[in-house]
C-alpha cells in the first residue's frame, strides 16, 4: 500500500496557528456539539407544538401541522441549508439581507436554525405517534374530570407520550448531531469539516478521518448512556419503561 502512515500527526502543529491537529479536531467537536444542542432545542420546541397540533381534533390545526411536516420532510437538508444561507438574504428587504450576510458566525446560526427546523418535523411525527399510542381512555378520563384540552395535554398526555418516545427521540438526537456535518457546505467548521481541513493540510487522510470517526463514536456512546440514564430517571414503576 503506497500510503505513508503517521499517527504522530495529531500532535504536530496545524498551519493555521490554532495549535496541534488534535486541537483542530477538538474545536471542530465543540462546534458540532454546540450546533447540535441549539438545533435540538429548536427541534424539541417546534416539534412539540407541531406534534400536538397534529393530534388535535381541529382540522385546521391538524392540517397546519401536516403542512409543516411535509414542508421540512420533502427537501434534502442540504437544499434547506442553501435556501436559508443563500436565498433568504436575497428575498428579504435590502437592509435585512445585508445584515444577514454580514452577521458574524452566520454559518453557525444558519446551521442551527436550518437543522433545528428540519428535525422539528421528525420530532413532531414521533410525538404524534407517541400520543396516538396512549390508550384512548386517558384523554377521556382527563376530559371527564373537567380538564381543558390544554390541561389534558400538559398534565396527562404529554408526560406520558414523551416517556414512550424517549428511545426514538434519542436516535433523532443522534441524527441531529450527524446532520451538523452537512453544514460543512455553508462553511461551518465542525468536526467533519475540521477533519477535511486536516486532511487537506497534512495529506494524512486516514489519520484525520479516523480521528473524526473515533470522536463521533465517543459522542454516540456518551449520548446513548446519558439518554438511558434519563429513561431510568423518568420511568414510572410498573408501566411504560418502568421496572
Amino acid at each position: 500500500m503506497n500510503y505513508h502512515w503517521n499517527w504522530h500527526i495529531f500532535l504536530e502543529p496545524a498551519p493555521d496557528g490554532t495549535g496541534s491537529y488534535l486541537d483542530m479536531l477538538l474545536s471542530g467537536l465543540v462546534v458540532t456539539i454546540e450546533t447540535a444542542l441549539v438545533a435540538w432545542g429548536l427541534a424539541l420546541l417546534f416539534g412539540s407544538v407541531i406534534g400536538v397540533l397534529r393530534t388535535l381534533p381541529s382540522r385546521l390545526a391538524s392540517g397546519l401541522g401536516f403542512a409543516w411536516v411535509e414542508l421540512f420532510r420533502n427537501m434534502p437538508l442540504l437544499v434547506q441549508l442553501f435556501l436559508w444561507f443563500f436565498v433568504l438574504p436575497e428575498l428579504v428587504p435590502r437592509s435585512a439581507g445585508l445584515w444577514l450576510k454580514q452577521m458574524p458566525h452566520a454559518p453557525f446560526y444558519t446551521a442551527s436554525i436550518g437543522i433545528g427546523l428540519f428535525m422539528s418535523a421528525r420530532v413532531a411525527e414521533q410525538l404524534r405517534a407517541g400520543i396516538g399510542a396512549l390508550p384512548r381512555g386517558q384523554r377521556l378520563a382527563a376530559t371527564a374530570l373537567g380538564l381543558t384540552t390544554l390541561q389534558t395535554y400538559r398534565y396527562v398526555l404529554l408526560p406520558l407520550a414523551f416517556r414512550i418516545i424517549l428511545p426514538p427521540l434519542t436516535s433523532e438526537f443522534l441524527s441531529t448531531i450527524k446532520n451538523t456535518a452537512v453544514a460543512i457546505t455553508i462553511g461551518l467548521i465542525e468536526l467533519t469539516g475540521a477533519a477535511r481541513a486536516m486532511q487537506e493540510f497534512s495529506f494524512q487522510v486516514f489519520e484525520a478521518f479516523t480521528g473524526a470517526t473515533l470522536l463521533y463514536l465517543l459522542i454516540n456512546v456518551v449520548v446513548v448512556i446519558a439518554m438511558r440514564g434519563l429513561e431510568r430517571a423518568l420511568a414510572v414503576p410498573g408501566s411504560i419503561g418502568g421496572k
Partner: protein
C-alpha cells in the same frame, strides 16, 4: 421583489439539469437502494443467524456506520475505494475510480446498515411457526429463508423500505461535498456560472419537494391498500 430575478435561466438549463443531473441522482438512488437492500438483508441474516461471531461482526458494522455522518462516510470511501481497488486487483498503485463508482460504493455500504435494521425487524416480526412449518416439510435453511421468510418480511416492510429509499434519494444530494454533478450539483454549477443562486436553488428545492411528496403519497397509498388485504 422578484423583478431582478431571471427565472428563464431555469428553462435554459433544463436539459442539463435533468438529463445529466437528475439521471445521475436517480441512477445512484436506484442502484444504491437495490445494492443496499441485498447487502442489508445479508447483514440482517448474519445477525439473526445464531452464529455468535457472525452476529457480532454484523452488529459492529451496523453500529459503526450508523454512528457516522454520511458526509464523513462519503469522504472515507472517496479516499478508501482507490486503495481497496488496488488491493482487490493487485495493482501497483491506488486505482483511479470515477465519481459515480465511488458514490455508488459509499451509498450501498451506508444504506446497507439502515436497510439491515429494517429487514431485521421484518424477519423478527414473522411468527416462529412459519420457519418451523417450513423445516417440518424438509426445507433447508436457505430454502426456508428464500421461499418462506424473506418474501413475507419484504412484503411487510415494503412501506418502510420505500420510505428509506426516499430518504436515500434526498441523501444523494450530499455528493455535493465532492463536487460530484448530481441534480443539486448541476443546479449549483449553473447557479454559480450565471450568478443566479436564488432562482436555481428555489427550483432545485421545488423539484426535490415535488418528487419526494409524490413518492411519499405513493407509499401511503400502498400502505392503505396492503393494510386492507391483510
Amino acid at each position: 421583489m422578484f423583478a431582478s430575478f431571471d427565472f428563464d435561466v431555469i428553462r435554459r438549463s433544463l436539459s442539463y439539469l435533468f438529463l445529466d443531473g437528475m439521471t445521475f441522482t436517480l441512477t445512484l438512488t436506484g442502484l444504491a437502494a437495490l445494492g443496499g437492500l441485498v447487502f442489508g438483508t445479508l447483514i440482517a441474516l448474519m445477525r439473526l443467524s445464531g452464529l455468535k461471531w457472525l452476529g457480532v461482526i454484523a452488529g459492529l458494522y451496523v453500529d459503526l456506520v450508523r454512528a457516522l455522518p454520511l458526509v464523513l462516510v462519503i469522504f472515507w470511501f472517496y479516499f478508501l475505494v482507490p486503495y481497496i481497488g488496488q488491493w482487490l486487483t493487485g495493482a501497483s498503485r491506488p486505482l483511479r475510480v470515477g465519481a459515480f463508482t465511488s458514490s455508488l460504493v459509499t451509498f450501498i455500504l451506508f444504506e446497507a446498515a439502515y436497510f439491515s435494521e429494517i429487514m431485521r425487524a421484518g424477519i423478527q416480526s414473522i411468527s416462529k411457526g412459519q420457519p418451523a412449518a417450513a423445516q417440518a416439510l424438509g426445507l433447508s435453511y436457505s430454502q426456508t429463508m428464500r421461499y418462506v421468510v424473506l418474501p413475507q418480511a419484504f412484503r411487510n416492510m415494503l412501506p418502510v423500505l420505500l420510505t428509506q429509499t426516499i430518504v436515500l434519494f434526498q441523501d444523494t444530494s450530499l455528493v455535493y461535498v465532492l463536487s460530484i454533478p448530481d441534480f443539486l450539483g448541476a443546479a449549483s454549477k449553473v447557479a454559480q456560472r450565471d450568478g443566479r443562486l436564488v432562482e436555481m436553488y428555489l427550483f432545485a428545492a421545488a423539484v426535490y419537494f415535488a418528487m419526494s411528496s409524490l413518492a411519499s403519497l405513493g407509499v401511503r397509498r400502498l400502505q392503505r391498500r396492503t393494510a386492507v388485504l391483510r
